[in-house]
Symmetry: C2
Subunit: 275 residues, 2 copies
């Protein structure tokens, strides 16, 4: 029983997690991670921590010293800068050159990894769709696209095609992926309409095209083959212009929210495994 | 509507407050402040922040730089150390030499004050009981007792009698009170049984005697006059041995929880006034 002048979801014993970003108001992690902790019956909460870029290097070590803080999530613009603060960094994070989660282990050391790509793979796994032997087109080679490309490469696709409007960025990503997974066949650019119609199995949008009120498609196509699986990493809107087209064409679609759910589940595994 | 994979009490827009202490598990502020913020329809949460004594000087400036953190509460052992970090310190805190709350003002400056004593006065005010012209005995000259003595002195009692098992500590407190309120009549020691029977109006326990399983009374008396008002600053148990005796004797009693409620209300006023 909680007296009426108390709330029942936070106390002195509650373990603390934080999401560090700038800006911070738009993040969805506080409500989603906290719900996942509750589902797992953990007395833990994830709170927003708005750190200004000029304060990051001084603040982060202090946050890591908070004795009841067991993990941190990093978002824009800190994923690359946080990399250097961890004692150990996972394979995915090393390949991407950035981290988005850091967990304190029982010995006091901090382990970090990046889960955007792992979340994408997890969303496909939950739908029973594998990448092995498939031809995959990833659009966008920024933070999310890089992590997705690395994670997908780890699933042994037949071909991984990478595209970014900034060709040098796509090129740099291909180099990173090739270093981490030398056996995966890579190509650069957007597959042709004919290829998408016949030789691409999975299309993943990791560009911001289609976000919020943006009505554009990230590819110049007005038809998609019904056998294609289309995922959009964008969370808002849930049904992006690309996903709307894919639905109209009878494709299997996977929404950004599913990737986010997959990512959160795997990050909470990571946080709780550190106990 | 909150989707089932989200909680509704924390988001990226939630303003953050913290209680800084060592240890931290026993604090009640997270559930009580957060409830008070909710009652006032503020999207804010107060979380435990366990800082080790050796980290305090390095961590505190970083916490004060968190851009969405608007206030901090300090508990054992940091009330005196936190004093030096504020840009401005209130009258009560200056008299006591310690702070237990610090709020960021819109101009970025941090204001601090101590509210233990203010909470005690507020609890009396809510019961319609004033201190002006009354004779008051305060037992205990530690952190809580000091703050209570200073706050009560500010209410212009006829006589304020201070006692601590450590006579030097009571003496030092009397000096501080006299400096802050030179017009208030002070005396040292415990009033005699005869005085308590006839010449003391209000008895306040701010010692730890009677806490948890301690069955002792903080005064060697087996009767109290029914006209006496007795407050105990102890929160657990709610009905201390002193309050049990006072109830049996027909005294008016005020519980530690009422002081805590009064304190929280006044601290939240202080936090929100800083907007």
């Amino acid at each position: 029983m909680t007296p009426e002048d108390e709330v029942d979801y936070i106390s002195g014993r509650t373990r603390l997690f934080g999401i560090v970003g700038h800006p911070i108001e738009q993040v969805r992690s506080p409500e989603m991670f906290t719900a996942e902790f509750r589902r797992r019956q953990r007395d833990a909460i994830l709170v927003p921590m708005h750190v200004l870029p000029e304060d990051f290097d001084a603040c982060l070590p202090s946050l890591m010293r908070l004795h009841n803080l067991d993990g941190l999530v990093f978002t824009i613009p800190f994923k690359a800068r946080a990399f250097g603060f961890a004692h150990n960094v996972g394979e995915q994070a090393r390949a991407v050159g950035a981290v988005n989660a850091m967990a304190r282990h029982a010995n006091g050391r901090w382990h970090a990894d990046i889960f955007d790509g792992i979340g994408c793979v997890e969303a496909f796994r939950r739908r029973g769709i594998g990448f092995a032997g498939r031809s995959v087109q990833v659009l966008g080679a920024g933070g999310a696209g890089s992590a997705i490309a690395v994670a997908v490469a780890g699933e042994r696709p037949r071909l991984l095609r990478l595209f970014d409007v900034d060709a040098a960025r796509a090129d740099a990503l291909a180099t990173r992926v090739a270093r981490a997974y030398p056996d995966v066949a890579l190509s650069l650019g957007v597959a042709s309409a004919a290829d998408i119609a016949g030789n691409v199995d999975i299309l993943i949008n990791a560009t911001p095209v289609g976000m919020l009120d943006d009505v554009r498609l990230p590819v110049a196509l007005d038809m998609l083959p019904p056998g294609l699986v289309v995922m959009d990493a964008i969370v808002k809107p849930e049904r992006t212009p690309l996903l709307a087209l894919a639905e109209q064409c009878g494709c299997t679609t996977i929404r950004g929210r599913e990737m986010m759910r997959g990512q959160i589940a795997r990050m909470v595994d990571f946080f709780l495994a550190a106990d």
